[in-house]
Subunit: 269 residues, 3 copies
């Protein structure tokens, strides 16, 4: 735990120093908030989705964030195109499979992106992540999960099947690469009342992936930072409008030392 | 009036308890604010517009909100597709005919949606609503309206022609199903300085339609709630940036009891 | 300087009095913030990009704002269409060449808009503006600029080549029509932490162009107003979330007299 807290502080300092360009192909609802969050934490966001430029744009980027909310067919083509280019260049990619499992199009899109690109991380809620299973998966469904340990076991199996790091976020976030399991307890209930909280957590992981080659520690430390920003915002704000603005403030003001002291990351197995 | 105040409180409590999924096909400008407003009041927003998924998505929804701002041809096709599915399933639909009357495309789109779907409510400003008249309409134009009573009379005739409930919002909102006429006096001048105030009022009606089968009372009580949120925000905020954030706060903090006490709904004829 | 300060006050008062309709074809990230900023300062924003309505819409507008962020092919067609109509009608047009120079598509799009429409103003950062040079340009590149005077000289030459007014924004903004050079020193460092600060500065210039026929003074005074709003916001806000909301407040609250007293505009040559 101490080592991950140190790593969190180190990653935040590195984002602020290197200001990595984060290329986002994300949904219309959260574009503004995500861009503001990335700027606040010290990264450089760019949003670009045209098939005519995504390959050129991602070549400059420290990480690629793909988010399938408000999906259109053309956008999926661009996501794959950008993802293939990023894969070739070993630029880390994170997928947010928004709504996978809810509609056929979203599940199809998420699985296609998984099949055709080299993902470092996938972040979603439990049902989104479990919808990514293959037909012959050994992974159990949401209904069969009765405890936190069940969830951890299921996530480990699925991470191995999908050959990537998985982050299942909720009151306690679970991060696993199929071998190690890390839990992150930072966060605040009002985060659930801000649209794109999850999407912005994904973008934050993108920024940390640009400065930390280990997807597991990049993901866990990013989630701790994002959750701590929620806690700091929640100290002064008691309703979602003010809260979402204070979260942007907190992403800017939290120092690496405060993150080191405040992050609640625990490794189990 | 007392009964509508009670109904307002009851509807708000029902939204918070049932957390209805509100499917929005809306414009790019207001997506984020609308989603945050729906979350703040206790509903569950989803934004999805792809022809490949709108029918599947709307099947889960408690109401469908169609808003023709920043319109594109493809989007209109999706709106009709989602609207037809919702009509079949008796899921309430509300239309916001943004800019109808201003351009040929918008007027055409609004009329096409009216013709091809079963709308519960249409909300707009006076000129948007009057642009929806048919050629052989008995309804008088904006220029011929010289008093609040004129407006009420015109709205009643048009509601009957269009076979739906109409909400004409302004300093005092007018709601009519062609038989009854309700006026809602809640609101604050700064609401006119926040982009998408009207669009978000429409989405709020969508949330109330998901818990109240009577379009007239759902619409009037939703507008009272939304207007009261403006009043609460205006008590502390004196400029539009702070005001729009405090409105989100108020949508979250106003209790059913406060809404009962604060709503200014009056039925006339 | 005194005359430009007077002009700034006069332009702001005129925007508030005439409430000009500003037609924006802009990117998804900033649409909401830009619309809110235009409303806050007293203008009437409309966002419309469909090929089926841009000509009709721009016919009502006091100015057209074209911004190539999150560009798609279809949108470029609409930008040209709206731009040609505005050119015919002598409606002022301002271009924000977001990302020109970064990708081939963006540079191509910016140059095509310049070639096919009659632009009053182009606003960007130094590298965006310099990317607009023709092959046989006399203008020096970014690398060869070693002082503020170098930059002014380069901008003057380029403004003459492009036959338009150029605004290169940064810590000190430079505005030139190829003959006169004006520097605007208003602003605040937190503006760089708000997504779409530049885009919204462009839209502010659009609003001022709608009330001031001189592109040079419209641009300089709009940038002074926008920068002063940043300064006012920065007096109370120390982090980007709160800051961006207070900027909207300041665009609403700053009076013409306060702008006259606070603007830092200096003409050199």
């Amino acid at each position: 735990m101490t080592r991950l807290a140190d790593k969190a502080a180190q990653n935040l300092a590195a984002v602020r120093e290197k200001k990595p360009l984060i290329h986002n192909i994300t949904n219309f609802v959260v574009m503004n908030y995500t861009a503001n969050a990335l700027l606040a934490m010290g990264a450089s966001p760019v949003m670009a989705h045209s098939q005519g430029e995504v390959e050129e744009m991602v070549a400059f980027a420290g990480a690629l964030v793909i988010n399938i909310g408000t999906l259109e067919d053309d956008w999926l083509t661009s996501m794959i195109k950008a993802g293939k280019k990023a894969s070739q260049q070993k630029t880390p990619i994170i997928l947010d499979p928004v709504g996978s499992g809810a509609t056929t199009l979203r599940t199809y899109a998420a699985k296609k992106i998984i099949a055709e690109t080299r993902l470092s991380v996938i972040r979603g809620n439990a049902s989104e992540i479990l919808s990514l299973r293959n037909e012959d998966s050994q992974t159990k469904g949401v209904d069969s999960i009765h405890s936190v340990d069940d969830a951890a076991q299921t996530a480990k199996v699925l991470a191995e099947e999908l050959k990537t790091t998985l982050a299942i976020t909720g009151p306690v976030d679970l991060v696993t690469d199929g071998k190690r399991v890390i839990r992150v307890a930072n966060g605040h209930p009002l985060m659930g009342y801000v649209t794109g909280s999850g999407c912005t957590a994904t973008a934050t992981i993108g920024a940390f992936l640009a400065v930390d080659q280990n997807p597991l520690s990049a993901t866990a430390t990013a989630l701790a930072f994002f959750g701590l920003a929620g806690e700091v915002a929640g100290q002064k704000a008691h309703a979602p409008g003010t809260f979402m603005i204070r979260m942007l403030d907190a992403l800017y003001t939290i120092s690496p030392e405060e993150l080191n002291a405040g992050c609640q990351i625990e490794e189990s197995n």
